[in-house]
Symmetry: C2
Subunit: 681 residues, 2 copies
């Protein structure tokens, strides 16, 4: 193994350090190394049994790790970013997960100052441990359909939290199953028999000392899952539980305790902002999520030799399987995608932050809770937010689907050994999969994107277009529609971007025609909408990757060889996507059939050849420590077989059992030597 | 839940019984029900903890089940088919798996009569338990690269079995890790320093009494896997282990103990036949493998309601998500695929059996071990076998990839609840995935298919075409090539089949041009080959489905309504595939761009609408008992939520743990009530 990766690294002269410094920042990597050292010295983070434990053994260990992480954070005074780095290195979901994210975020964003005193401080100190209880057994995507009730009782100024049916049971709630003693509960506010929609309430659910459920509360873990088994996703049923008026999170809306009148929310744009943030973050992370699998698969396929080349003359020895074009076409476009998503996510996060700043500025002069939202045309801040929101929905769907499916492609590219847990891909994939479903099911999100694109197209047609990129490409399309496109996708990079913009715009106006002129039902258009959203998001990825390549900072930080290589990755991502979606590109006349054929047979194949020698250095630039990958196949030093063998014969507890193999014997285990093996484990 | 599925069943009038009797045979289903009753009454088959156990707990339980199955087989005198039914109902891989399949098959097929006496009888009685040890740490696909040695020692007429390197360690060997005491070992035969390639040897590896490894043998389980954790895949290293001459399986080849001369194999066609059988069987099974996921997803999506229809006027109530076209397009083509693969697999198995019969006939007159294989042109039996072989390779790749990926699509279609182990899809999917890699990695197989198609195309061009379907469609393509195609895919079913044949033929001749005229390297064409193989296999599926619809037996067994519905499924499978592969269809001029657009926007959408009302009855016809599905979401009675809740709150052992939630406390579990819960579990 060893020497093969050395050779690979010698073949390419791009600087791994410079590239990774440019991608992540030099300091971040240095910090990461410090944290890594701290974690590795703690016995509780030993990973050697992660892949064998059952659910009931996994969970207390995950809790112990979560506690230790919290202790280390306090001890070393880690920032939020440092905490996230540590978490990423440990690499498994943990029982404080939803406390540390959604519970705290919600308390920060949606409380009044008094409520911050009451809840937020304790939560930040882990004196209370919380979760975010929105989804129910019967409702997830359709939040308005939630059944849990919060009935205002004017007699004693309390809310009665109640689950009227089994399907009202909260379900899937992270950290709730065994850990949390508090919950933010989304419940239908009811005043005087009138429903006002779902609102957030803080409810204590377990005793702070005994940790037993409080009266009227039925709570527990929902059971084993495809992955995420180190997390206690929970259920929660209320039998008329009373909570005081102060427990309704009242920053944006509330009930006037004196009059029992509902106080309407003024502007939801901040909450809206949180969703944009979370989704942009998923886009950003999708690059490194996928890169983990790509790193493992590419390293292994460079170490793995199998068969002689069929055209080889003599006994040339076996090929590294990474030399087979059929392996390259599966892995190198994914390698390109890791960079594409990285740059796209980075741009999204930057846009989000710029907008948050502008929003805070524009909010200051107003009294926020009394401000009414102006007509859309007059509000550049929320308009930009609307664009950002739609963009983040579409990209979240595209990027997380690509990352999830890409990981499985990586696993399969490793042949039989990919199926071993020691490959390190399987459990990573299984833990990642919910990302395709939560924060908006990826299929459902495409409807939101399309709704926005239709709206934008209508405004363009009416000459009231806003000044954002979406409207710009739609306008450009309309202007050139009758002249045709004739993009030179094989010659010019900017024409590739234009071709993606053209196809997305074409599909937008097609969908508009179906909906507005032909009056087709919404439901009959869902498949078109899904295609449309995908097309638009692919355009955004291609555009963001292109723009990153032309950003001044890149020219300053990297040498031309590296930039040329990144440009090849850009073209590979774009042209490979284009050939996969060929029929939309030619139907829209963005390109000709001949161009697509050439892209497929010539351009893409040539790019594979150009990128191949740099594959190892490119994955090295993602800088995953071996400890994080926890993979025999993805080791930096390429000692694949030694590591597989070591784990199987030294760390595998099943080998401590001597069984009785005969069907007529009632004895299964003749001898259990796990105690003796224990020393090793 | 309940009433929704009742309504669904009331909406359609196709006869579930008639359809399933036609598909599987009435007797088989009756037998299945008998066996089901037997299994359910055995405590060891209780499934309630399957999803929570860790590796070390899972395995002894799986062994206990394997033993019980064996005992029941003996007690009830089950046939091979009945044993397979029982195994399917239990639904997990088991430690006798490779003994009962490859070990016994190899002993049957490759032994001399004396060896049958020596090994086969004991193996059939489970006095010895074996496995099939071919793959090594360093070699899987490339069998010729195996490193384990079998060195003939003329001095004492023995073979020395030896592993010269770590990579020579046998790896992945099912039933070897803890269970087997014998192995068929594929090793490089070496006589007088000359290698003769891999051959099968029978080696005892563990003591029959103590079950300890014999001297010179290092054996164990290879560790946890993505799935298949009820099986003990093992490793095996030999340190110069001596075995007698009689332990080389000598039906086809051997070493003359007197002269130390190698005895060449005469005809490998029987062994070849085994591969065809195994692959055809994978094709046949892929239908029901996928149907399991499709049954669960379609039933759940008919019970699940989420959102009101966007165009609905008043408070119409929430839609069943199966009514959304975006859900339909994900699930109904998969439903169609289950039938497509079922009929294709059935046809393959029939062809295989017919050919075996013919082969046995033609073999009788000869003295098999001395017969030399005649030139290909003169041997219709092996020619047909070659066609069958290529066909089974391509179909194995297509069908198992479709089934594996289809299961994940089913899981995702179930939204959040799909991620729960109680959905019953996840572990089924994880256990199935190796099928995409073993018996020929699905990507690699496409090279074999292409090689065969190129050979066929050459023979057609030379006017020496054989009389099989592959050559027929190639000839037809050549004849009409210059006239063009103009298939009426939207009007005539037989034209759909022709369009698929046309595209496959077009790609064959394209590939031939690249290889023979342009002299492109084999490696540079691998991606084209993969496309070609996929195209050819899709043609075969479409053709077989079409032919099944026109088989007399179907007209006799089913009423026209059901046949019409099956025809719609045929068209959905074909047209949906066609639109996904659109660019190959128009580049080959099999269809026009306009036809593809119409297929996409009109024909497919209309088929979804037509099939939708019958979806539940169609999945019902697969007749999976609830016990087999082991799924909250896929229950026949639709009591989805009740079952999820019951399992989570009553059967989930994690809920017996009371934890200490505070980060500063070193206590994790304050109370473990599993003993008390035990009664329930
Ligand atoms: C591991 C995990 C952790 C989670 N953690 C939390 C948590 O901490 N807190 C919390 O509140 N929730 C949590 N959730 C819940 C999660 O947010 C929901 O599962 C998710 O929103 C999907 O909703 P659903 O399950 O209701 O899907 P459904 O809406 O029921 O979707 C089912 C199917 O129907 C389709 N569909 C539904 N409506 C439409 C439509 N209108 N048009 C077309 N198709 C449609 C979907 O695409 C999907 O295929 C978690 C889920 C998981 C898996
Ligand atoms: C659960 C499980 C059970 C098993 N049970 C058994 C058993 O009981 N007995 C047994 O003997 N074996 C068993 N196997 C082994 C199995 O047969 C092999 O893993 C399988 O044949 C794949 O071989 P490989 O792992 O060497 O893949 P490799 O050949 O190493 O493939 C690695 C990658 O390289 C690609 N590749 C390789 N060669 C080429 C080429 N020439 N051109 C293009 N691409 C190429 C492949 O497509 C793949 O992506 C089992 C495997 C699993 C996962």
């Amino acid at each position: 193994g060893n020497e093969l990766l050395d050779l690979e690294r010698a073949k390419s002269s791009i600087s791994v350090e410079k590239l990774s410094d440019y991608l992540f920042g030099h300091e971040l990597i240095a910090k990461r190394d410090q944290i890594l050292e701290i974690l590795q010295s703690e016995k509780v983070f030993d990973k050697s049994q992660n892949y064998t434990l059952g659910r009931v053994e996994k969970f207390p260990l995950a809790l112990a790790r979560a506690k230790k992480l919290r202790q280390l954070k306090v001890k070393h005074n880690w920032s939020y970013v440092e905490e996230a780095i540590a978490q990423g290195l440990v690499g498994e979901p943990h029982p404080y997960g939803l406390h540390a994210s959604m519970f705290l975020v919600t308390l920060r964003d949606q409380t009044t100052p008094e409520q911050q005193e009451m809840f937020l401080k304790k939560a930040e100190n882990y004196e209370i441990i919380g979760c975010y209880a929105q989804t129910e057994l019967g409702h997830g995507s359709n939040v308005r359909g939630l059944e849990t009730l919060a009935i205002w009782d004017p007699s004693d100024k309390t809310f009665i939290i109640h689950s009227p049916h089994l399907t009202a049971s909260k379900w899937w709630i992270g950290s709730l199953g065994r850990t949390a003693n508090y919950a933010v509960v989304m419940a239908q506010l009811v005043i005087d028999r009138k429903p006002y929609g779902p609102h957030p309430f803080v409810v204590q659910i377990r005793d702070l000392k005994t940790h037993q459920p409080l009266e009227g509360i039925h709570v527990g873990d929902i059971g084993p899952k495809f992955g995420y088994n180190t997390m206690d996703n929970g259920f929660l049923l209320f039998n008329k539980v009373k909570i005081p008026h102060s427990h309704m999170l009242a920053r944006f809306s509330g009930v006037d305790p004196a009059t029992s009148k509902y106080i309407r929310p003024a502007s939801a744009s901040l909450v809206y902002g949180t969703m944009v943030f979370v989704r942009s973050h998923i886009v950003f992370e999708s690059g490194s999520v996928l890169a983990r699998g790509v790193t493992i698969a590419i390293r292994y396929c460079a170490v793995r030799r199998q068969f002689q080349d069929r055209d080889a003359q003599d006994r040339a020895g076996e090929q590294q399987v990474l030399n087979y074009t059929m392996v390259q076409i599966r892995l190198l476009p994914l390698l390109a995608a890791t960079f594409a998503f990285h740059f796209t996510g980075k741009a999204m996060m930057a846009l989000y932050e710029a907008n948050q700043k502008r929003m805070l500025k524009s909010e200051k002069p107003n009294n926020e809770t009394n401000r009414t939202a102006g007509p859309e045309e007059l509000n550049p801040v929320t308009d930009l937010l609307a664009d950002l929101h739609a963009t983040s929905c579409g990209l979240k769907a595209l990027a997380s689907t690509s990352a999830g499916e890409g990981l499985e492609a990586c696993r399969r590219a490793c042949g039989g050994h990919g199926y071993s847990s020691y490959s390190g891909i399987g459990s990573w994939y299984a833990d990642y999969l919910p990302t395709l479903t939560w924060e908006g099911d990826n299929y459902m999100l495409t409807q939101q994107v399309s709704r926005y694109l239709l709206k934008s197209a209508r405004s363009v047609l009416q000459g009231k277009a806003q000044n954002n990129d979406t409207c710009k490409i739609l306008k450009q399309f309309l202007e050139r529609r009758d002249m045709g496109a004739a993009f030179d996708i094989l010659g010019k990079d900017e024409d590739i971007v234009s071709a993606f913009a053209w196809r997305a715009s074409f599909l937008t106006f097609e969908a508009l025609k179906h909906r507005d002129e032909e009056k087709q039902s919404w439901n009959s258009l869902l498949v078109d909408f899904w295609r449309l959203s995908t097309a638009h998001s692919q355009y955004l990825v291609v555009k963001n990757f292109y723009e990153a390549l032309h950003d001044k900072s890149m020219g300053e930080a990297l040498d031309t060889e590296t930039i040329t290589l990144l440009r090849q990755l850009f073209r590979l991502y774009a042209l490979h996507t284009l050939e996969n979606e060929a029929s939309e590109f030619y139907t829209s006349s963005a390109v000709t059939v001949r161009q697509i054929q050439l892209a497929r047979t010539k351009a893409v194949m040539q790019l594979l050849e150009e990128i191949r020698p740099h594959a190892i250095r490119l994955v090295d630039s993602w800088r995953f420590p071996d400890w994080q990958l926890d993979s025999s196949l993805g080791r930096y030093d390429g000692k694949v077989y030694e590591d597989l063998f070591h784990r199987a014969s030294e760390l595998n507890p099943l080998n401590a059992l001597t069984i009785d193999p005969y069907p007529d014997s009632e004895v299964m285990v003749k001898r259990d030597g796990r105690d003796k093996m224990g020393a090793k484990l």
